[in-house]
Every structure is written in C-alpha cells, then in structure tokens.
C-alpha cells in the first residue's frame, strides 16, 4: 500500500513536471471544435444538433494525440525495465499511470467542453449530461489507449499507427457518449447510455491494464 502511494506520488510529479507538454491535447480539442462552425453553417440549430458529435469526435482525436506522450519519455529513460522489476504488479502501475494521464488530458477536455458547448449553442441542461458522459467516457479512451500505446511503444513514429489501431476501438464509446448528448438535446432520458458508459469504464479499469501490460512487455522484449 505504501509502495502504491509512493508510486502515485512519483507519477504525479512526473506529470506535473511536463504539464506544458501534456496540455497540448486539450488545446487540440479546442481547435478541432472550432473547425466545425468554421467549416459549416454557424447557425444555432445546426451547431446544437451536431454539438455532441463534434465534442466527442474532437475529444477522441485529442485523446489519441495525447496518448503519444504516454510512454515516449518512459521508454528512453528505461522506466519500463524499472517497472518490470518493481514490487508493484505492472497492470497496477499502468492503471495508476492511465488515471494520472487522464487527470492531465481527459479531465481538462471534459471541463473545456463547457465553454465550447455553449459556443456551439448546446442547451445548458443537456450540456451537463454531455459533460457527465465525457467524465465517464474519456477514462475509457485513455485506458484502451494504453493498449495501443503499448503496442507501438518501441517505434520511432508510432503515433499515426496508434490512431489507426485505436479509433475503430473507440467507436462504441463515441456512440454512447454522443448518444447521451443527442438524447438530452431531444429531451429524452439518457440514463441507459450513461449506465452503459459506466459499465464500459468498469470493464476497462479491470481488463485494459492487463492488456496494456502484455502489450508493453511485447514491445520491451526485443527493443
């Protein structure tokens, strides 16, 4: 337990130390959201109709961009080898790492969705539910992303390949996450979608770290 706390603290310091680097993902999120009104018709009803899709697609893209930094520095520092020998099991280490990564990339995205949703004329009551869906869904994106990042960790330019691997896997999260926004916008209940997202989150917390650990081990094997 004490080892875990120490590990959490170390991870916090790592991420705090490179906050300038990590914050790029939320900025990408803002930029992608801005592209849609510029590329389409900036009238309130058009934008509000598509706001859930825009916000979710943008957070997906931002998440994939952010994941590139998940293991990049760690590999060059020999962090992976150190963690393989550490007293904590690797899946637990990676779970802590994913949650920390989410704190610095996913959480800002969910918070930024508030002003951006308003800018897209999305109604307030629905926006609250949409943000709840982001809070439940973005950790799933990060946890699943750990698998893709682990598989491509050894490569020089794994980012492009990682997006190709991850985006198809993100489809269910997008469907239910944006589904919350669409239902709320139409005044329909969105509880079913929120429960499904919560289910995905629980499943991802339990299963994804194991797969990420296996992926990282495969990447570390011969590099």
């Amino acid at each position: 337990m004490r080892a875990l706390m120490a590990h959490v603290q170390r991870e916090w310091q790592r991420y705090w130390g490179r906050r300038g680097d990590v914050i790029q993902a939320p900025l990408i999120f803002c930029l992608v959201c801005i592209l849609f009104p510029l590329g389409g018709v900036p009238s309130p009803d058009h934008l509000a109709r598509y706001a859930p899709a825009v916000i979710w697609a943008a957070s997906l893209i931002a998440c994939v961009f952010g994941l590139e930094t998940l293991y990049r520095q760690e590999l060059s520092e020999g962090w992976v080898d150190a963690m393989l020998l550490a007293p904590l099991p690797l899946p637990l280490v990676l779970l802590v790492k994913s949650l920390m990564h989410w704190l610095f990339t996913g959480l800002p995205v969910a918070l930024l969705a508030w002003p951006l949703g308003k800018a897209l004329y999305f109604p307030d009551a629905a926006l609250q539910l949409l943000i709840l869906s982001l809070l439940l869904g973005t950790p799933v994106l990060v946890l699943l992303g750990g698998i893709g990042a682990g598989l491509t960790a050894g490569m020089g330019r794994g980012g492009l390949l990682m997006s190709l691997l991850l985006i198809p896997m993100y489809v269910p999260v997008l469907i239910f996450g944006a589904g919350v926004g669409v239902a709320a916008h139409d005044g329909l209940p969105a509880t079913a979608q929120l429960y499904l997202l919560a289910c995905m989150l629980l499943a991802a917390i339990v299963l994804a770290p194991w797969a990420s650990a296996a992926a990282l081990k495969i990447s570390a094997e011969s590099s």
């Binding site: 698998i147 598989l151 490569m155 896997m169 299963l207 495969i218 011969s222």
Partner: protein, 244 residues
C-alpha cells in the same frame, strides 16, 4: 490428441501436412464453388420482390460470413500464440488477416452493389454495413501493425494481442452500432426481409458459403507455408528441404 496437436505445431511437420491439406480442401472447394455458382446464377428462381438482383446475396453472404468467421479464427489462434507461443498460430493470424480484409472489402462492395437497386443508394448507415466497415479497419490495423514492426517474432506477438483485443471489441462494436441504428433508421430496411427462403435458393447459398470456407482454408494454408519458410529461413529443415 494432445501429442498430435503438439507435433503439428512445429513448422517442419506442419509444412508438408499443410501442403497435403491445402489440396484436400481445394478439390471439394472448387467443385462446390462451381456447382454453387451454377445453382446461384441459373437454377435458383428469381425472387418475387427483388427479381434477379437478389442473386448478389449468393456472393455477399458468404463473404460477410467469412469476414466474421476469419476474425474469430484469428482470436482463437491469438490465444494459442500468446499462451503456447506456437509459431504456426502466429503465422496464421497475419495471413488470415489479409484474407479477412479481402472478404470484408468484398462484402462491403457487394453490399453496396445490392443496395443501389434495392435501397436506391449505394450507402445507407445500416447497422450491418457500418459494423462491417469498422471491421475492415480492425483488419487493416492488424496488417499495419505487422508491417510496422520489423522483428518478425515481435510483430506476430503484437498482432496476436491486437487481434484478441479486437475480437473482444467486435461484438461490442456490433451491438453499439445496432443500438445506434435502431434509434436513427427509418423502417425502410426491413422491406425485403423474407421470412423463409426457398430451398432452391438456400442450397446454393449454403454451397457457396461452404466452398468459400474451404477455399479460405486452402489459400491460408498456402500463404502460411510461404510465411513459415521465410520465418524459418535460417533453420536446418528449410535449408535441407530446398536443397533437394
């Protein structure tokens, strides 16, 4: 049984076995394909709603069926490859992925060609078409990962893991797309849902599906033989066999 399984897992004994099996599967595969094509194009009567256009089903359904079947086969092979590190299973995953991607692309293309006269448009955001499209990207992901990793052993293990994760994902994608679809789709799609098929239509369909599966077996075995040779190019059995 276990011993037999174990022995086949080693490339030197799998290689000749695969060659024989490929021929054994190819002969009934080709015969069934020819008979199935005859049945599909000539002996099956025209559909009373869709006319002759429904004949696309005889190639569309086998391709779509194989696209799912191949992915589940890859998932089984992935488990074997990750637990027992069996080379034959590792090779199967990537070689099957090539064919699976092909079947998926054919299923999509024929689905679109069927959709144009029946739905009036090449593409509708129908649940099955959409999840098939995502399946295509899952296949392409496996292939891209294999191409990107230069170490063959590492590439095979990475692809196994990805195939396994993808296999867990396929049903989730399917059901989520279906749920999304029932929410947004009008009732146009079910217009052609026939309650039961005439046996003169059903038999060619089953024949085509079986023939496609057999030929998939043949082709994947031929591919696997080549991949195994290359993977084992430094080992003695390959050298000795090629010298003779």
């Amino acid at each position: 049984m276990w011993l037999w399984f174990h022995r086949l897992g080693s490339p030197p004994s799998f290689y000749p076995f695969a060659g024989r099996l490929a021929v054994i599967l190819a002969v009934p595969g080709v015969l069934l394909l020819l008979h199935g094509l005859y049945g599909a194009l000539l002996s099956a009567p025209a559909d009373y709603q869709q006319g002759e256009g429904y004949r696309i089903i005889f190639v569309h359904v086998p391709a779509a069926w194989l696209s799912l079947f191949v992915y589940s086969g890859m998932a089984v092979a992935a488990v074997i490859a990750l637990i027992w590190r069996m080379k034959v299973a590792e090779v199967f995953i990537v070689d099957a992925a090539w064919l699976g991607a092909g079947f998926t692309a054919v299923a999509l293309a024929t689905g679109m060609l069927w959709g144009k006269p029946m739905w009036g448009t090449y593409w509708v955001w129908d649940a099955r078409l959409t999840s098939e499209l995502i399946l295509l990207f899952l296949y392409l992901g496996v292939l891209a990962l294999d191409q990107a990793l230069h170490d063959e052993r590492q590439a095979a293990r990475a692809c196994s893991l990805l195939a396994l994760v993808g296999a867990i994902n396929v049903p989730i994608v399917h059901y989520s797309v279906e749920w999304w679809n029932t929410l947004h789709q009008g009732p146009t799609v079910s217009k052609f849902d026939s309650p039961s098929m005439d046996s003169r239509m059903l038999w060619p369909l089953l024949e085509m599906a079986l023939a496609t599966s057999l030929l998939f077996g043949t082709i994947v075995l031929v591919r696997m033989r080549a991949s195994l040779l290359w993977r084992e190019r430094h080992s003695r059995w390959v050298r000795e066999m090629l010298r003779n």
